[in-house]
């Protein structure tokens, strides 16, 4: 059984090729980890959407259960959970994140 919050989250991750659930906004991140995640996406030059979980308590709690992942930020590409900022950084350094974006046909900004 999925909750209404799960349904909302599923709609968000399916409606956006690349979406980052974060604290704050790309211009004003409210946490160092979210800031790092934004910097990586900016560096990759892909189009991405963000959801500020600080503005939405349901999503803030719901996304942790939805992804089975305890922390924020969280990156989704083409509806698939990729990881948090540490995994993004490791994948970025190994060139895997660029490769994933290219292979999934993500639009560059």
């Amino acid at each position: 059984m999925s909750s209404p919050t799960d349904t909302r989250i599923a709609e968000i991750v399916n409606a956006n090729d690349v979406v980052l659930f974060m604290k704050g906004t790309p211009l004003f991140p409210q946490c160092g980890f979210s800031s790092k995640a934004v910097a990586i996406l900016e560096h990759l030059g892909v189009e991405y959407a963000t959801v500020d979980v600080l503005q939405d308590m349901e999503i803030r709690q719901g996304i942790k259960a939805f992804s089975d992942w305890p922390t924020i930020p969280q990156l989704y590409v083409k509806g698939e959970f990729v990881g948090g900022s540490d995994i993004m950084m490791e994948m970025f350094q190994d060139g895997e994140l660029q490769q994933m974006m290219t292979e999934s046909g993500v639009t560059t900004a």
Partner: protein, 77 residues
């Protein structure tokens, strides 16, 4: 809320007995850590699953009591 590094290390070792755990207190405040965990349990697992094993070892403290843990996982050479 702070959590001593030894406690983090102990929890990880309890779940992953073979693990080599290196903890760095990034800010010196007992609240912002980096951990590098090397364990044979990670072999063949994607990164997300490797990190989940560590988060499970921390038993729900991650994201709550433990705010900032920069995590790196690896398999033994």
């Amino acid at each position: 809320m702070a959590m001593p590094a030894a406690e983090i290390e102990g929890l990880i070792r309890a779940a992953l007995p073979d693990a080599q755990v290196e903890i760095t207190d990034l800010a010196g405040d007992g609240d912002h850590y980096a951990a590098r965990v090397v364990s044979a349990a990670f072999v063949g697992l994607p990164r997300v699953k490797q990190h989940k094993l560590v988060y499970e070892a921390l038993g729900g403290r991650m994201g709550g009591e433990l705010h900032a843990l920069q995590l790196t996982t690896a398999v033994p050479n």
